[in-house]
């Protein structure tokens, strides 16, 4: 037992002795290095270090959680938490924790990634590559994150995990309004190809030159994995049983029904080698592959133990953080690594098969009028390329996709063989592995 799961186990034991009927604790050591760059030079190099314990206790149906930030005082804080728990109001919906003793497939941080002490050189390499490929202005971020996690639960789970992620995101401009965006996400520094990412962003920016005002109407859109990552974020979060329960999901009452085209199989797969690989969820249930949509049909929501009980099913191993995080309530079931399975098209084939379309690099600001029905809009950014009769004929700008999200997924008719892991800022998150896809007859609007 490592010191982290040992520390977690000790805090759980303290909580039990103080009167908690259930307790779970995750102790995390996190070290992050970040290089931020813009205007083709480094703006700041940042680093942050956190050691903390996230703890959830129940006294019967009375539940409370806390982020114990001072590990030197964690024993005392755990006792205080149980005392607060005894006075907490009961939560009727609390359904217990994942129980059992599990064997986990523990991750390891590779030594090279852990020992990077000058991340700036990778950022410089990417900047130079983008400039050499024709970009005149380059910005982006490089992250190296190292996380060590120990978990212990009074219901049995105990284990450790380690994960690393190296994320490079580059936006290159060849003109003031001509940009391309490319990312590389890898769990190991050996997988980072800074030069290639810089070049790819620059190439896209060159294709986006001399853009003209886009027009309104129905277009077939071909979306790159980065774009797909942004819109699949909101879709995968709507798979959370808690979102379904509070009426903020277009997937409510849709189990067994068609919610996407037959070409789409959408899974949550945290066990593959990726930047969001994990051994267990936040209750200690083993992380596992969950098929959310199979051949266009909705198969399951994502559950923790409490939502599973409410929905009369079993946890899917998707218990979210014990404390609230941006865009998620405490313990909300969450996707960890969404994947759309590859299809049988080459990207070039999809383009040449498209008569009147748009090839889209990236998007942001996806917002819903109504999560229940799926009416939304999103704003494509970076390379927006016009396709006519199977050829890219130029670039446009200033457009918006205003449509229905489920309709968009139902209209996806071509899925590429090639997939890419993508993660970018707060938009294409969590990390996901996605193909390029085409959706037919998508509504494009613009400012009057």
């Amino acid at each position: 037992m490592s010191s982290l799961s040992h520390a977690a186990s000790r805090l759980v034991e303290i909580a039990r002795k103080e009167g908690a009927t259930d307790a779970i604790c995750e102790v995390e050591d996190l070290a992050v290095q970040q290089v931020r760059f813009s205007n083709s030079q480094i703006d700041a190099v940042n680093s942050w270090t956190e050691s903390h314990a996230m703890m959830f206790v129940a006294v019967g149906k009375r539940v409370i959680s806390s982020d114990l930030r001072n590990l030197d005082a964690a024993d005392k804080e755990a006792r205080v938490l149980v005392e607060l728990g005894k006075r907490a109001p009961p939560s009727k919906g609390y359904g217990g924790l994942a129980s059992g003793r599990f064997r986990y497939k523990q991750g390891r941080i590779d030594r090279r990634t852990a020992s990077v002490d000058d991340p700036s050189k990778y950022a410089q390499e990417a900047i130079h590559a983008a400039e050499a490929a024709g970009a005149v202005d380059v910005g982006g971020t490089l992250y190296i994150r190292l996380s060590k996690l120990g978990i212990a639960s009074s219901a049995g789970p105990i284990g450790n995990d380690e994960s690393a992620s190296v994320e490079l995101s580059i936006r290159a401009f060849s003109q003031p309004e001509a940009s391309g965006h490319a990312v590389c996400c890898t769990p190991s520094i050996g997988g980072l190809n800074a030069r290639e990412v810089g070049e790819h962003a620059a190439e896209l920016s060159l294709m986006a030159r001399n853009s003209v005002q886009g027009e309104e109407g129905k277009f077939d859109i071909i979306i790159q994995p980065l774009f797909f990552g942004s819109i699949s974020q909101s879709v995968s979060h709507m798979m959370s049983a808690l979102r379904v329960e509070i009426g903020s999901s277009m997937f409510a009452k849709k189990i067994g029904k068609k919610v996407a085209s037959e070409e789409i199989t959408f899974i949550d797969e945290p066990t593959i080698d990726s930047t969001s690989r994990r051994a267990f969820d936040h209750e200690g249930a083993p992380a596992r592959k969950n098929v959310m949509i199979k051949d266009g049909v909705l198969k399951t929501y994502l559950h923790n133990t409490s939502t599973a009980k409410k929905f009369k099913t079993r946890t899917t191993g998707n218990a979210g953080p014990l404390i609230p995080t941006p865009y998620a309530y405490a313990t909300q079931p969450l996707p960890f690594h969404p994947v759309v399975l590859p299809g049988d098209w080459d990207v070039e084939e999809i383009i040449s098969d498209t008569k009147r379309g748009l090839y889209l690099n990236n998007t942001w600001y996806t917002r819903y009028q109504n999560y229940t029905t799926g009416e939304f809009s999103t704003i494509p950014r970076d390379a927006i390329l016009r396709i006519k009769d199977g050829e890219i004929i130029g670039a446009i700008k200033n457009i918006r996709i205003s449509d229905n999200m489920m309709g968009l997924w139902k209209n996806m008719d071509a899925v590429s063989k090639q997939v890419q892991e993508v993660y970018w800022w707060a938009e294409a998150a969590p990390p996901s592995t996605l193909p390029t896809v085409r959706a037919r007859n998508v509504n494009i609007t613009r400012s009057a």
């Binding site: 700041a44 190099v45 941006p326 309530y329 917002r367 704003i379 800022w425």
Partner: protein
């Protein structure tokens, strides 16, 4: 820590910040407790500026040894940047001050039982409307943040900021159709902030309004007409299409790969952007406001900034780095979400300045138009030029009178298009609270958005 940082070669500026943060959170879902959280956090950071770059390091491990490690990290990181253009920070006078926000009813004194009673009171008030409402997710969260900033120029700023917010998610259904309402309220101070909001009246009114929108709302016929925007819509426009594009770090490109650039350039100061009613102010010093602060994270005294002034681009939001690059002084816009993250240029409380009309005068002079009271879906492009607002609450205006609910009215317009179409603003400003997202990693900071009623002539509605 500061001594260790100052001892390094070539340090232009060293800053050390310590923070102690207490946070409590209670959420209920359909009347039942969903989650309860209580957390205490302490941590520190150091930021070192050299000519060659800026390094920032933070940690929640509070010890002298950890402080020295952070200094070494930040210094090494600053050296590794190798900037082509040397770092230039605006010269600012050193300050020694303490500031704090008073609480009439201390947040720490409000028990979990009282918080639950409050949230359940909201739930009961909503249920009493007899309208079918899903979700009923209500969350009350508060923070007490104690800070201490010291820099190598002699500034020493101590602060205490209590802040509270409420979030609600309701989905109203009627006749098989639904409308959503996701709202947030907040302020600085104690529990009196919550009492002032009178949400036990506001939320039921919102629920009934949404049912009316579903039952009686009619689609707007697409076309050009006059539009009266309520304070919530004026506020989001002020925030998105004035506040963000006027952030100097975006203008200078620092957010180019995340939140984006800006249609505004440094050369745009003094150029026209709208009508004479287009005056937008960002003011961190509004007492009780959600985005309140007295000194920013660099120890610069906060003050109102007139971003757009009478239709002209007037003043950017600056920290010391952006001001230094443009040869100006900072106007106190440096903020960070927590000690863990670097401070960057941020808005505080952004609002459209009031005009000289009564609310009903604005509507009375519209022959054929729409009043968009509030919005649901919205977005804007990354240069902050093309924006969209979809109404949550809207009404037709016919011959100067409100003439029934208009459902899902859509305004998709450019930034000059919006600000240039205003021909009247009412006298009273109202604010909404929200978390403004920016930075990498994403930092959510508390902000007010507001304005009076605005009348826009001849805009296209969809």
């Amino acid at each position: 820590m500061l001594n260790a940082a100052e001892a390094k070669d070539g340090v232009k500026l060293a800053e050390v910040r310590l923070e102690h943060r207490i946070m409590r959170d209670l959420a209920i879902k359909s009347g039942d407790v969903s989650s309860l959280m209580s957390s205490v956090d302490s941590g520190m950071n150091v930021r070192i500026a050299l000519l060659s770059g800026i390094g920032f390091a933070s940690s929640n491990r509070m010890s002298k040894a950890e402080g020295i490690r952070l200094v070494q990290c930040a210094y090494r990181q600053a050296r590794s940047s190798k900037r082509k253009v040397p770092v230039s920070l605006s010269p600012e006078a050193a300050v020694r001050t303490n500031w704090e926000v008073q609480q009439r009813r201390a947040l720490a004194d409000v028990s979990t039982e009282d918080r639950l009673k409050f949230l359940r009171g909201l739930d009961s008030a909503v249920l009493k409307t007899k309208v079918k409402v899903h979700g009923r997710f209500y969350d009350v969260r508060d923070w007490e943040i104690t800070g201490f900033l010291a820099n190598s120029e002699g500034s020493r700023v101590r602060s205490f900021l209590p802040r509270v917010m409420i979030e609600s998610t309701n989905v109203v259904s009627s006749g098989g159709e639904t409308e959503q309402s996701i709202r947030e309220w907040g302020g600085t101070g104690g529990w009196e902030v919550i009492d002032r909001l009178k949400l036990d009246h506001v939320l039921p009114a919102e629920i009934k309004m949404l049912k009316t929108q579903i039952d009686k709302g009619k689609k707007v016929k697409p076309g050009v007409c006059d539009l009266v925007c309520g304070p919530e819509v004026a506020g989001i426009a002020a925030h998105e299409s004035c506040g963000h594009p006027m952030e100097a770090d975006r203008i200078l490109g620092r957010e180019m790969s995340q939140a984006g650039k800006s249609f505004v350039t440094p050369e745009h100061i003094g150029q026209g952007i709208g009508s004479r009613y287009a005056t937008v102010i960002d003011d961190p010093t509004i007492p009780g406001s959600y985005g309140y602060y007295a000194y920013d994270m660099e120890g610069v005294k906060a003050r109102p900034r007139h971003l757009y002034k009478e239709g002209r681009i007037n003043e950017f939001l600056h920290n010391r780095e952006t001001a230094g690059r443009l040869g100006l002084h900072s106007n106190g816009s440096s903020r960070s979400e927590t000690y863990l993250k670097e401070p960057i240029v941020r808005m505080a409380n952004t609002y459209v300045a009031p005009g000289d009309f009564e609310d009903d005068e604005l509507i009375g002079a519209v022959k054929n138009g729409v009043l968009m009271h509030s919005f649901t879906e919205w977005n804007i492009d990354d240069k902050r030029y093309n924006q969209k607002y979809v109404s949550r609450e809207a009404y037709f205006i016919e011959d100067g009178e409100l003439a029934g609910p208009a459902r899902k009215c859509i305004l998709e317009i450019t930034t000059p298009g919006f600000w240039g179409a205003i021909d009247a603003a009412s006298k009273n400003v109202d604010y909404s609270a929200g978390e403004c997202g920016k930075g990498d990693p994403m930092q959510g900071v508390a902000a007010f958005m507001g304005g009076p009623f605005l009348r826009l002539r001849g805009v296209m509605l969809k």
